[in-house]
């Protein structure tokens, strides 16, 4: 029998993979994709508890998360285009104007 714990465990694994991806990758595009993985982990969590508790609020929240993810993708990819225009690269360590 598959219960909420299985879904939460899967969500945890996805979140950690996404987190590691955000921290270690050099390519800005892949970092944004890892971020999408973390969004998906959150959505799995919300849907699992929506099912477990018999409450649709989790699904509505997941819709909001997807909307914010779409906004994040638009902004992030705009940033990539601006970075490529400025530096001619998508490598994150090249973007060090602010001393990072």
């Amino acid at each position: 029998m598959i219960g909420a714990t299985h879904y939460v465990a899967l969500s945890l694994i996805l979140l950690c993979i996404g987190l590691v991806g955000v921290m270690v990758r050099r390519n800005f595009i892949t970092v944004l994709m890892s971020l999408e993985l973390m969004f998906n982990a959150v959505n799995i969590n919300l849907i699992a508890f929506s099912f477990r508790l018999g409450d649709l609020t989790g699904q509505v929240l997941a819709i909001f998360v997807i909307t914010i993810a779409a906004a994040e993708a638009a902004i992030g990819l705009g940033l990539i285009i601006a970075l490529v225009r400025l530096k001619d690269t998508v490598a994150l360590e090249e973007a060090d104007e602010m001393g990072g």
Binding site: M1, I2, G3, A4, T5, H6, Y7, A9, L10, L12, I13, L14, L15, C16, I17, G18, L19, M23, V24, R26, N27, I29, T30, M33, S34, L37, N40, N43, I44, I47, F51, R52, L53, G54, L56, T57, Q59, V60, I63, F64, I66, T67, I68, A69, A70, A71, E72, A73, A74, L77, G78, I81, A82, V84, R85, L86, V90, A91, L92, E97
Partner: protein, 190 residues
Amino acid sequence: MDFLVDNFGSILFYVVAGITVATAIGVVAFRNPVHAAISLLVTFLMVAVLFIMSHAEFLAAVQVLVYAGGIMVLYLFVIMLVRIADIGPGKVFLSGLAPLAVLGGVVLGCLIAIGILLGSMAAGDGGAAAMTAINGEAIGNTEAVGWLLYMKYLVPFEIVSVVLLVAMIGAIVFGRRDAGLAGAVEEVEP
């Protein structure tokens, strides 16, 4: 054969979860961003299957339409637009901190896993109640979610639409050719 039939739900979950985790690792590990994007696409589709298994059919459709359809096309578009050769060979990960970051991710995962285990021991792990009825009337998942979204959560819905508008304007500003970014950096670096 009986085993397969009796445990179909569990087997399906483990297969789908396995593919999800494998493709998610692929997103992080693939050298070529196009391969990572295709891997991410499979992850999105598998997550949609998980949504269907949790009786969130509308969310599954939204997942396929918005993520697999919209966001993935946007990513592939940008990957094609940017020259991959600029990333340089041999350097996929940021130097130095990568093992530390992986260690940090694993430690965080272990901590949350302990929390999940304790929580599931405390709360049990039962099945779900039916949730496709509002005001005692049996309706489909899409109608139920829509009812909740436009009746109870109308104000958050409007706020999120404003966030989307801001994101759209921001993307247009970043995308303009004379965005002023190049000039600003030249001023900073004399």
